[in-house]
Every structure is written in C-alpha cells, then in structure tokens.
C-alpha cells in the first residue's frame, strides 16, 4: 500500500520546478529515486551535478547551478523549499 502523501513534498517541489527548468526537475527526480544521488546532492552538490545520474548530465542555467551548490540543506524537502524560495524571489 502506498499513499500520495509519500510524494507530497516532492510534488510540491517539482511542480514549482517544472515551470522553471526541466533540468532542475531532472535533478530532483534523480534525488527522489536514488538515495545515493540524493545523499551526494546534499553533501557534495558540485560532484553530484558534475557526475549526473545514469550517465546523463543535467542541463542547468548558471543561476540554477550556483543556487544548488550554494544551498546547505539538511534533506531533500529542505533543499526543494530553499530552491523554490530562491527562484520565486
């Protein structure tokens, strides 16, 4: 059994990202499905973005790239919240 609330946070973060960038959407989608990538994104975002996911790199604008590597988030929800906040300023 699985409920939609499992992904509630992720829906919120991706829905705001979709309108901004498919690259950001892909970063968060990769973080959702891969705990290893998520962990690296939170601890070492520079390497995580450089390595990409499943052999695919992320197409991010400089602003998005700089934003992701400058945020120090405790978890994915926190990262999404901070990205969302920054992009809607």
């Amino acid at each position: 059994m699985i409920t939609h609330s499992t992904y509630q946070t992720q829906i919120q973060m991706t829905s705001s990202s979709i309108s901004t960038s498919s690259g950001l959407t892909r970063v968060f989608a990769a973080a959702v499905v891969s705990r290893q990538f998520c962990k690296m994104l939170l601890s070492d975002p520079v390497t995580a973005l450089q390595n990409g996911y499943l052999g695919e790199t992320f197409k991010l604008s400089n602003e998005e790239h700089n934003l992701l590597i400058s945020i120090h988030a405790e978890n994915l929800a926190d990262l999404a919240r901070q990205v969302n906040k920054a992009l809607h300023r």
Binding site: M1, T14, I18, N75
Partner: protein, 190 residues
C-alpha cells in the same frame, strides 16, 4: 490508510457492540506480541526512519523487509486461533509472495503510480526503481503475480489516492474482525 481505517472501524465497532451490551471491551488476547516489535523495528529503521533509510542500500532494505514480513507472518501464525487472524495471515502471505517474487519490494505499475504523483514525475523514474518506501516501479508484464501488486486505488471522490494490494484487503478484513468480533466471542465464553 486502509489498514488504519480497519483498525479504527474495527475498534469502534467492537467498542460500540460491547457498550450496547453494557460490558467492558475485551481486546484480543494476542500471544507473542514481542514478535511484532522485533520484526517491525528493523523495517522501521531500514524503510521508514529518514536518517537511517538513506544509509541503507536497496538490497539490504529488501532483505530486511522480507525478514520483517517473515516475523510478522510467524506472529499471525502463532495467533491463528483468534478470529480474523487467519484472514490476516492470508493477506500477509499474499503480500509476502508478491514482494519476494519482485526483487523484495511491492510492485506498482506506472499507470497506477501516475494516480499518486503526476505522470511527468513517473516518466522520470526508471522502471525497476524504488517508488516510495516499499514499492518498486515495474511494468505489468514484468511483474510476477501482478494480480497481487499494488494495483487497486481508492475512489476518486475520497480525494486521497492510495494504491493497495489484494493482500492489503485481506489484512484490513482480518484486522477489522480481530478488533470488532473477537470481543463478542470472548464475551460469550463463560
């Protein structure tokens, strides 16, 4: 949610029934309750608790989930004499079967998953990846015992989409009977 509903409605029904008869509520006399805690604790650490979940690989998580289910099956078997527990046991066996047959996680199809999250997100998730806590995204044709997978959905008017399996239905019925009718049986014992 379906299991929570079964617990709440079973308890409420049982409580209402004995109150109507003017007698105290008798909870089911469960044996070896410690087995539930011992079985569920590793599952909680590996699957639900965010801080530890991130440290455990999918392979270990599936192994822990299976071991945990074996423990819970043992608990249900040891209490099989209680009304409802046999149905609960059948539900647990069905879920255990489909999980073991599908890489240690409960399979869910992209079509069903798209009712829980947007299709755009589902399309980003590779087939064979974990989905949520205990599920794995698999195409129906790749799924063994597909009829036992998380393939049923709550009605749309509920506005709270939940995907559940046939095993979950048995589990819910078993839990309801255990909490609602057991009290009546025990009350009838002189």
């Amino acid at each position: 949610m379906i299991l929570l509903f079964a617990v709440a409605s079973g308890f409420a029904f049982g409580l209402g029934w004995v109150r109507w008869l003017g007698q105290p509520y008798q909870p089911p006399a469960l044996k070896h309750l410690w087995l539930v805690f011992v079985s569920f604790l590793p599952q909680f650490i590996a699957i639900y608790f965010p801080n530890t979940r991130a440290q455990i690989s999918d392979e270990w998580a599936s192994g822990i989930l299976i071991a945990s289910l074996i423990g819970l099956l043992g608990f249900a078997w040891l209490n099989r004499n209680l009304l409802g527990m046999k149905i609960l046991f059948v539900g647990a066996v069905l879920n255990f079967t489909v999980i073991v047959a599908n890489r240690g996680f409960m399979p869910i199809s992209p079509q069903t998953a798209s009712h829980l999250v947007s299709e755009e997100i589902v399309s980003e998730i590779p087939i064979g990846s974990r989905f949520g806590t205990k599920d794995i995204l698999l195409l129906p044709e790749q799924t063994r015992f597909e009829i036992l997978a998380d393939r049923f959905l709550t009605p749309t008017w509920l506005n709270y989409p939940v995907a559940f399996s046939l095993g979950d239905v048995f589990l819910a019925i078993g839990i309801f009977l255990l909490l609602a009718i057991q009290t009546k049986k025990e009350r009838d014992v002189p």
